[in-house]
């Protein structure tokens, strides 16, 4: 494998954007029949390198060889013609078309009278079968699928073109363990057929489970290329963040100490529910407490959080906040009552892409004050300066459009937006999804520090280890209802929670 000619070879690639050197002399090689993972923190240049390869970005210097020939691709379509297909982090499909139309879009089977839909759907069925998605009806609208399954459809769409190189940019960030295993099965099959796969993921377990080789980037620079089996996790993380691993490990230890301290209740919700999304549920939250919501994707954890913020209107139940019955049926009302909510859907419900970092940061505070009482320049600078620094946002340029920041830094700006409203209750739905180890550690540390200051936190994450590490209590959800409430302690581990979820019913199989 290593001795043959690489199918993709990138040499000494550099790209600069105004004010940033996004890539600086990066090398990358991809061989047939291997899964090669690109590792690095957010903003390290992984996505940029992929876009350099597919020609979405122009490189300033360096060389790109495809099958030994120097090529400069000019964009996704050109890359596809050259046998390189890409599936991006966020699902880029048309929700209002059918599954089959999405899979075959641009590759419809044509007959003498235009598109032959029957043959097209037959081809779509084949493509889906190749990914083990036989149970999907290609004539159903895509919007009828969960986000996780849509991602799998996106991958089968990429495979329709019979590509030699498949680029998967964080395809697993919204999949549960079962679906990840499904995907890996397909990836292994494709690899054995000789397809070269470039994989990007932040889940170390997944990286070790699937990849043959790793290339590590840090701050746009090339750190090295390694065989996965020769590099242990500690070494890998140190290379990615360029600092000692011990600081990461010590995290969460301080949380263990104040478990169980009695505190006054902040919020008590009784029978809070909404038809079709979450059954009537009781939630109690004390001041300075971190309450974890654990459960699989679609278990109702997000739905419950949205009800607490008024993002969706509850149709049953009451909420008592600080001893008073309170109406929290709109986000504006919740914010006025010092509740803040950071959505799991960063792109659609979090950042406002075209606004600057500064505007994104002050937005919630400004909305709380009303438009007729604008924040002065000085107040804005204070808020912006404070959170850019405290949350270590890079680059710390408030006038830059937020869409130009990496995912992790966007998340930090959002966290700043909510913190600036000085919340008593902060609801964080998947605040660490799709972001790198370094930013993840920083966000976890912020959560711990906030609880220390007396802020109550609802913490939702697919990574059970993370929930266990941070929470004082854990509310376990399954099939749109609460099935257990656990006091966290040394005896609670991710496995405990998995067991609770698995034992509770018989229909559900496989857990995170």
């Amino acid at each position: 494998m290593a001795t043959s000619l690489p199918i993709v070879e990138m040499k000494d690639i550099s790209i600069s954007f105004p004010g940033v050197k996004a890539l600086d002399g990066v090398d990358f090689r991809l061989y047939q029949g291997e899964v090669h993972t690109l590792m690095g923190e957010n903003g390290a240049g992984k996505s940029t390198l992929i876009k350099a390869l597919t020609g979405v970005y122009k490189i300033d210097s360096g060389q790109i060889l495809i099958s030994g020939e120097e090529r400069r691709l000019t964009g996704t379509a050109d890359a596809q013609a050259a046998g390189i297909a890409t599936v991006y982090q966020e699902v880029n499909l048309c929700a209002n078309l059918t599954i089959g139309e999405n899979v075959m879009l641009g590759h419809e089977v044509r007959g003498p009278f235009g598109i032959n839909w029957r043959a097209t759907y037959r081809a779509a069925t084949e493509a889906l079968k190749g990914l083990g998605l036989d149970h999907l009806d290609p004539r159903q609208p895509l919007s009828s699928l969960s986000l996780a399954v849509q991602q799998l459809v996106a991958i089968s769409r990429a495979m329709v073109t019979k590509s030699k190189v498949l680029i998967l940019d964080e395809p697993t960030s919204s999949l549960d363990a079962n679906e990840v295993e499904n995907l890996f099965t397909v990836m292994r099959r494709l690899r054995d057929q000789g397809v070269a796969i470039l994989f990007v993921s932040h889940f170390l377990d997944q990286v070790y489970a699937i990849s043959d080789r790793l290339t590590v980037l840090r701050n746009g620079k090339y750190e090295g290329e390694y065989l996965t089996r020769e590099l242990d996790r500690t070494a890998l993380i140190s290379k990615m963040i360029g600092k000692d691993f011990a600081t990461l490990k010590s995290l969460g230890r301080e949380r263990q100490e104040h478990h169980g301290e009695p505190r006054e209740p902040l919020l008590t919700a009784t029978d809070l529910g909404r038809k079709g999304s979450i059954e009537p549920t009781d939630v109690e939250l004390r001041r300075g407490e971190v309450l974890g919501f654990a459960g699989l994707l679609g278990s109702g954890r997000t739905e419950l959080a949205r009800l607490l913020y008024g993002a969706d209107k509850p149709d049953s139940g009451t909420v008592v906040l600080r001893g008073k019955k309170t109406d929290l049926s709109t986000p504006a009302a919740a914010l006025a009552n010092r509740i803040a909510f950071s959505s799991e859907n960063r792109r659609d419900e979090g950042i406002i892409r075209d606004l600057s970092v500064r505007e994104n940061l002050i937005l919630a505070v400004q909305a709380k004050r009303g438009w007729f009482r604008p924040l002065g320049k000085k107040e804005q600078d204070e808020i912006v300066g404070k959170y850019l620094k405290e949350l270590n946002v890079r680059p710390a340029d408030p006038e830059r459009a937020i869409r130009n920041l990496s995912g992790g830094n966007q998340q930090k700006v959002l966290l700043g937006r909510w913190l600036a409203t000085k919340p008593d209750l902060l609801i964080l739905d998947e605040p660490t999804r799709g972001i790198d180890v370094g930013a993840k550690a920083e966000i976890q540390a912020t959560v711990a520090a906030l609880a220390e200051e007396g802020v109550s936190i609802v913490f939702i994450s697919s990574e059970l280890e993370e929930v266990v590490r941070l929470s004082d209590r854990i509310l376990v959800l399954k099939d749109h209802r609460k099935i257990a409430e656990l006091d966290n302690g040394p005896e609670i581990t991710a496995e405990t929670i998995v067991a609770v979820i698995a034992e509770e019913g018989v229909t559900e199989e496989g857990a995170a």
Partner: protein, 355 residues
Amino acid sequence: MTGTKPVQARLLELVRNQYFWGIVAIALLLAINVAADPTYLSIRYNDANGALVGNLIDILRATAPILMIAVGMCLVIATGGIDLSVGSVMVVAGAVSMEYLQNVGAPDSVGAALTAVAFAVGISALLGLVNAVLVAIVGLQPFISTLVIMLAGRGLAKVITEGQNTTASNDGFRWIANGYVLGLPVVFIIAVVIVLLVAWIVRRTALGLMIESIGMDAKASRLAGINRRGLLFTVYIGSGILAGVAGIFATASVMTVDVSRTGYQLELDAILAVVIGGTSLAGGRFAIGGAVIGAFLIATLDKTVVFLGVSSSATPAFKAIVIVVLCLLQSERVRNLFRQRRAAKASAPKEVVSA
């Protein structure tokens, strides 16, 4: 990035400015007029009524109503909507004021004029409110909601005047469109004051930021606690009131409301002015200054067409050509094309700026 910028860089910045090509187009149109008649730009002082007289003054007067509806339209478009009803709101406002003045007992008092203005503005605000309810509460698409009012409005005007072109006389009301202060038309001064007031409110409070944010991403804005409904009410009612003022301007100049022609198709002029000013129809970032330039350009264009004696049936085509050229110059793609050609010419080995 330090020190004084080279002249070239400054020029480049100017050329990229969204208003720049609008201003160039106005200058060009004026130049064409001067070529046709060298005295086109001359302005005289009329001792009899203390007024400045000239083609440029005529353009200022014609700009006033377009300014009003363009500014209102600009804010509506920024929220991701559109207001097709402004032309019809103009005629309703005109009809109400004319009917009132014709039927009131004291036709020549200032009080009657003020009452007429209040009625006109009031009914315009009401129509804006209907738009707002349809868009923000019923949840209809802005295009459809305002299309309904566009059709219903002209019908309403006909009902009010019983299908007649109502004429009235009131010196105070007439003065709004025909009077002069400091030699300038009152109507223009009022328009400028209103535009400055709106711009001040929008940019000195957080209204502008919030309008932009709901226009860019309604969902994320809602979760950030922004009251979208309230903003939509503000914007559509505001657009209605501004259209009402435009209607007063348009009827006061001849003291007649022509139910089939007052404000007819002016919504298109307003939309064009906004687009020329660099505000995207997709919503989000807006430029009131740009809409103002756009309004000036449209008024200049209208006057030029008349001045050059272009036949009235060819007027729309002439307008279309000017606007297509302008939009091409503003388009990101066309600009990139120019930039690439320039870059290709000057592709001598250049060092990469490291930051």
